[in-house]
Point group: C2
Chain length 307, copies 2
């Protein structure tokens, strides 16, 4: 069994990658996990490797000879990834990886796309089949460009390839400057949490659910784009208010302290019919439950950090 199903998981030490290990193991894969720095991510065969280095992709495939691929590695530095020139290197490395993986007989791949590929000026829910694509950042443009090439390449090469358009992820290991951790950490320290006016609506999905959905997509026969989201839109205000209530410190929330909101865009929400009907994945946490888990995790992490 393990010999037949070896999955290469790139970006394995990242926010989402860490949470993809357990679901892939549960699906019966031998997990070959790779990142630039060593990390303890569970019961995997670990490879420390830089996919951007010359020959890095070939060397890694030689060592892991995977039957399957979950490719999450990409530049993700908070605040700068949208315009990072490294987006070009990750696009290049991804095309290189996909070609070499297919050439070596790789069977099926899931690659991380983004909800930012969609045209955010139209109203949601955003459908893989019918919502126009209009990426606004270099990051989203590079992701979209890779998707176009993979979609043309996969059918002619016998490679199965799904493109996971991931919506707004939160949960353990999220960069601490983002909405959920920054709010939780402020309230844990009994400091005011500076927030926008909170009107923007996103599709918040717990990172453990994203990991589980990625494994399900890999084990499905879905080709092309598939949204990974909860299917439910929630405002920033509701997320922060829920955290405030869970922690009993709602009086520390400062809506509008980050300045006036620009008029909110239409809600950025996933149409999850493909995910639920074609992939058959349904076990998303409710937002309150996922936020409660996150609060506990940050509480533990914060205690550990100050110990």
């Amino acid at each position: 069994m393990a010999d037949d199903r070896r999955v290469l998981l790139t970006g394995a030490s990242g926010f989402i990658g860490r949470h993809a290990v357990a679901p892939l193991l549960e699906c019966g894969y031998e997990v070959h996990a790779v990142a630039r720095q060593p990390a303890d991510v569970g019961d995997v065969v670990w490879h420390t490797a830089d996919l951007l280095s010359p020959g890095g992709v070939e060397s890694l495939l030689e060592r892991s000879h995977p039957t399957n691929l979950v490719h999450l590695a990409w530049c993700a530095e908070p605040g700068t990834y949208g315009s990072d020139p490294e987006n070009l290197d990750w696009a290049a490395a991804t095309l290189h990886l996909v070609r070499r993986f297919g050439e070596r007989g790789g069977g099926r791949a899931v690659l991380a796309g983004t909800c930012a590929e969609y045209d955010w000026s139209v109203g949601g829910p955003y459908s893989e089949a019918s919502t126009p694509v209009a990426p606004r950042t270099l990051y989203a443009t590079a992701k979209d460009a890779v998707r176009r090439v993979v979609e043309a390449f996969a059918p002619q090469s016998g490679l199965g390839a799904a493109w996971a358009r991931i919506f707004h992820v939160y949960g353990p290991f999220e960069p601490a400057t983002k909405l959920v951790p920054s709010t939780v950490l402020a309230l844990l320290r009994e400091k005011p949490a500076a927030l926008s006016a909170g009107g923007q609506v996103f599709d918040f999905v717990h990172v453990a659910d994203v990991g589980s959905a990625l494994a399900a997509v890999l084990d499905s026969a879905v080709e092309g784009s598939v949204n990974i989201g909860s299917g439910t839109g929630t405002s920033v205000r509701t997320v922060a208010t829920t955290i405030g209530e869970l922690m009993g410190r709602s009086e520390l929330l400062r809506f509008g302290a980050m300045g006036e909101d620009r008029p909110p865009s239409p809600p950025v929400v996933a149409d999850v019919r493909r995910l639920t009907e074609e992939v058959g994945w349904t076990t998303a946490r409710m937002l309150g439950e996922g936020l409660a888990e996150s609060v506990e995790w940050w509480r533990s992490a914060d205690v550990a950090a100050s110990a």
Copy 2:
């Protein structure tokens, strides 16, 4: 002067690349020409290098430190380039090259796109500003994908970048299986020239004009897509008939011998207003003149080959 204007020309031994050398020299550039195999292409600094090899791009930029870039290298094997998996490698290498060129202070680049990026189901002339893009092959999809990334990257990185959508090129060094050389060579050998019914209309442009236009685009301030064509549509039948008349062997033309035409698509013709008005390039050969030159070149090449 030469120190200030060093152009790196990739694909320099290719069909178009060979014809870009003289115009770039005329514009005052020191030409650093690169291809995988050595070739005699004129008064250049030659670099034999494989841009697809690990570290190949970095090494080449280190050796040539160009101020300008004309990037033509890509897979181009007649008959197979449309679906060649190497399209992924060339897309990756191009993104890599553009990023590194920009990072090293490169000023302005012209990259080879293709008229096959356009939606060929709509009528021409095809306009950079208004004709939809709908690539049908892996080749055209990969070109289109790279263009999207470069267009997002260039403005934020201070790089000037033009994307040359090249139409149907003919002339010396064209692969011998293509319309013009195969017809000329058949007639030279007094053999029947097997042709389609000839109804399809393309924008045929002489390769020396393409080389000249590319140099003009490099020296212009045009950003983004610019068509490289004659602006005139000509049917395959007219091209072959003109060759027959030039060679006095029209009776050897066999229209329809390659089977019934599928119903011809709408004419594939460039809107050249951007090229003429913004680049200021106008000196295209008339088709009869270009074909006459081509006939003479193939006659000499054929004599040389049989000598």
